[in-house]
Amino acid sequence: MPDVFDELGQALANAGASLKVSRAPRRPVLYDLDYRAVVVGFVFRATAQTKKAAVPQVHATWVKLLQFIATRPDLLTDFEEWVKERGKHSRTSQRLRRGFLSDTTFDYVLQILVASGQLRRVGDADLVAGRRFRDLDSWCTRSIEAGLFELERAVISEMATVRPNITMLMEGR
């Protein structure tokens, strides 16, 4: 991977300027596995329901959407508008859908959670608790007790009251 600072330094040197980098760039916590996993845990706890199935389950796309907005609370108002405009072709819907689809980080996190036994895929697109879900569950509980991620949990709690329809879930595919 080319070093962007080297390239930038070179370009500046050509222009007679110098580049001084005092620290290495830091990756945002948005790409941190621990953060994303615990948010997925919150979403699963808030949305997985026992209906026809024997164990609580939730549609993976719905989890993807909720965790996407929970980690970006500014989008909650767009989501709410989208919910109001279900079935209509509005700009809000388009804007949210594009960002939502490109969140591949969630796909990777989910693969790891499934591979590690925290969650399990069932059927076409549903998720249920895996054999080691207890680890993720207790992790979420401890976070709540410590008062962490209040904003994310508040957003999830707000969104969990919405009943997703097929259109919303299909848009996520």
Binding site: Y31, L33, T105, I112
Partner: protein
């Protein structure tokens, strides 16, 4: 000056049943008065507080006798009869260690409740003076007729100013601030230390001050005042600087100058800053606005325009006045368009920056939580990850994911904070420019209106000369208007600068000299020693159960045993033992030279709080072992059983038992057969040999001689006739 209480009397006059009278004698040293419930002990204790002008200590306004029962204010019952009270009064005697004594007398009903009659006697018992003194507000300051003023003089207590929460003007330590530490009332006094302290005068730290005063640490009390005054002065200066800075910044803001006038920092720092640079200089430095220079330029411009109008030759060939006015309107409109455009852009930028600010704040919040998640080991992804199909190990990095360390997240947080600060400073800069642009827009609007008026006038004028005159006149009006505005601004800025100068001068004054705190440490240590001794003597179980710890005094002089507050350890009955030991310890520690405790203690019903056998036994044991050795007066009103009375009598503790009858007895008419006691006073139930057990130790018997002399002086109240009441039938009245 130490003193002792020598007697308490209550007299009630009725409309149809004659007079009723009750009296307790109190020799110096210890005296236990044991009487059954409903006898009238509380009446006697209430009378002591009332006659000392202490009603506010019991939560009453001055001159309010409502703490007394109706027996002394409305109706007294005797046998089957009820008599209407027409007048009642209480009296007490006080005797100093130099032999000088006083008799205090105060009406309860039917007289002036706001006055106390003081009869003074010399050491030989001869009446020296009699005066009527006022109680209540102002009685401390009134050197001629104020009761508190007299009492402080008589006890040789100094007037010590103390700080109040209400104003910078100090008030004083009053008698009712001191009495709660030596007069323990049965209703509230035993509940906790300082339970009956009086707060109505708003004295700061009055609980501590009362203790320090009685210990004799008046220098400490004075130092407290100085420290409080300095603290108040500084708080006031801080408040003033905040108000002043905000007034100046608002002025700058209203004028469209984005300049700060910071009040940040301590007084010394702000004084230095505000005295170094003035407001006008700051304005010039930060915005380039030089009002004096502008005023001067306007003066030159006005002069030139006046000359055009009045004396300069008019070039009738010039035709540029009209086009000049037209051009000016165009220029101003163009400028107005630019400035409005800039305002729109600034508002848009501000909204975007604020959105970014909100986003960074959200990310910062999430990052902080992730940091805690990792650093406090709340959770961490530790699962063994294996591909379900190929069974090879999967690392998060394979998916462009990271498991960041707490340090890495911390570094990210720092970077986010930098971003936050950067965006915040952007928003502030945009705000500043918006203020300037809005004010400039207003100014351009005004100028444009003027220019349009000028152009409209010129369009109606025929002839170049008139056009030039008209243009110059319009310009002169605008210049003069701006000159006036500028002059007003200079004047207002000078006014603000004067306020700053006044504040700087006040803040530069040397602070109040707090001075040394005197010899508090010695007195405090003496109090700690005495308190610990008395806590052990009265059998405080809480500290006994925690050996090895030390006693200390902390906030409000509340005692701590090790790290625990003494009032919070031990059994429920330990609370009253603590209160008693505290009062005793304070009186004892005040024996150091300069101590100001009056030397008398009064305990009203110390056993009432907990009547269990163990508590009573500890109390009796304390009296048996220690009461006769106390170097000050201790009077106890209580009710003891026969065994307890015997124990005290055997130990030589002076005890007076009144187990039947009532405190107030009818005073027989002079024609009735009478019985008199040894002092020639009306006989009390205590004189009846089958009802009274009175034992007096040799030491206190000597004191009784002095007391009886003082008691004889009570003849002024008019009840020294040789009478003897029938105690077996007297007193069905409710005195409690």
């Amino acid at each position: 000056m130490k003193a002792c209480l020598t007697f308490v009397e209550v007299t009630v006059s009725t409309s149809d049943g004659g007079d009723f009278f009750g009296r307790f004698e109190m020799p110096g040293g210890t005296k236990v008065i044991s009487a059954a419930n409903r006898y009238g002990k509380s009446l006697a204790v209430t009378a002591i507080g009332w006659t000392l002008g202490l009603e506010v200590m019991f939560g009453r306004p001055p001159k309010d006798p409502s703490r007394f029962s109706h027996a002394v204010r409305q109706t007294i019952e005797h046998g089957e009869q009820r008599y209407n009270v027409i007048a009642s009064r209480s009296a007490i005697g006080l005797q100093r260690e130099d032999g000088v004594s006083i008799r205090l007398e105060r009406s309860i009903e039917g007289g002036d409740l706001g006055r106390i009659t003081v009869t003074e006697f010399d050491a030989k018992g001869l009446e020296v003076r009699k005066s009527d003194l006022a109680v209540g507000d102002g009685s401390m300051k009134d050197e001629v007729a104020g009761f508190q003023n007299f009492l402080f003089k008589w006890f040789d207590l100094p007037h010590v100013p103390v700080h109040t929460r209400q104003s910078m003007t100090p008030t004083e330590v009053y008698w009712e601030n001191l009495a709660p530490l030596f007069l323990i009332d049965q209703n509230e006094g035993w509940t906790h230390l300082h339970a009956q302290q009086v707060y109505r005068y708003q004295q700061t730290d009055i609980e501590s001050i009362a203790v320090e005063y009685l210990l004799g640490a008046t220098a400490t009390v004075r130092a407290r005042l100085a420290a409080n005054q300095e603290e108040t002065r500084q708080a006031l200066l801080h408040e003033q600087k905040e108000l002043l800075a905000s007034e100046i910044e608002k002025y700058f803001h209203d004028k469209g100058w984005s300049v700060g006038w910071s009040s940040f920092g301590g007084l010394a720092r702000v004084v230095e800053r505000w005295s170094t640079t003035g407001i006008v200089a700051t304005l010039k430095d930060k915005t380039g606005v030089d009002l004096a220079e502008r005023q001067s330029a306007l003066g030159v411009q006005a002069e030139r325009l006046r000359n055009i109008i009045t004396s300069d030759p008019i070039d009738s060939g010039r035709s540029d006045a009209s086009s000049g006015a037209s051009q000016e309107v165009l220029n101003l409109k163009s400028r107005r368009h630019e400035i409005r455009d800039e305002i729109r852009t600034l508002r848009l930028q501000k909204r975007e920056e604020e959105e970014i600010l909100g986003s960074i704040a959200g990310r910062l919040r999430a990052a902080n939580d992730v940091y805690r998640l990792k650093s406090e080991n709340i959770g961490r992804f530790e699962g063994e990850v294996e591909c379900p199909t190929c069974h090879r190990h999967i690392a998060p990095e394979d998916f462009s994911l990271t498991v960041q360390s707490a340090d890495a997240v911390d570094a990210h947080i720092r970077a986010l904070r930098n971003d936050l600060r950067f965006i915040q400073s952007n928003v502030e800069a945009i705000d500043g420019r918006l203020i300037e642009a809005n004010v400039e827009s207003d100014r351009i609007d005004r100028q444009l209106r003027g220019a349009e008026r000028s152009l409209a006038t010129m369009n109606q004028i025929a002839g170049s000369a008139r056009e030039q005159m008209s243009h110059a006149t319009t310009q002169l009006i605008e210049v003069e208007k701006e000159t006036d505005d500028n002059a007003r601004t200079i004047m207002e800025l000078n006014g603000l600068q004067n306020k700053v100068n006044v504040w700087v001068a006040a803040a530069s004054l040397p602070g109040v000299d707090i001075g040394a705190g005197g010899d508090l440490e010695n007195r405090r240590n003496a109090f700690i020693d005495a308190l610990q001794r008395f806590l052990e003597d009265v059998g405080h179980e809480g500290i006994k159960g925690l050996p090895g710890d030390k006693l200390s005094l902390r906030e409000k002089y509340l005692p701590y045993w090790g790290e625990r507050r003494v009032s919070a350890i031990g059994s429920a009955s330990d609370q009253s033992r603590l209160v008693m030991a505290y009062a005793l310890g304070l009186a004892d520690a005040s024996r150091l030279p300069g101590g100001l405790h009056p030397g008398m203690l009064l305990f009203d019903e110390p056993l009432q709080q907990n009547p269990d056998t163990k508590h009573r036994k500890l109390f009796i044991d304390f009296l048996v072992k220690k009461a006769s050795t106390l170097p000050f007066q201790m009077t106890i009103f209580t009710h003891l059983n026969a065994e307890e009375v015997k124990a005290l009598s055997d130990a030589g503790i002076p005890i007076e038992v009144r187990d039947s009858g009532r405190f107030l007895q009818p005073v027989p008419k002079s024609s009735e057969p009478t019985t008199k006691n040894e002092d020639g006073k009306p006989a009390q139930p205590s004189d009846s040999k089958d009802e009274v057990v009175e034992k007096t130790s040799g030491a206190s018997a000597e004191k009784d001689v002095a007391v009886s002399a003082a008691a004889e002086k009570s003849s002024a109240i008019g009840h020294t006739s040789d009478t003897r009441s029938d105690s077996s039938s007297a007193g069905e009245e409710n005195h409690e």
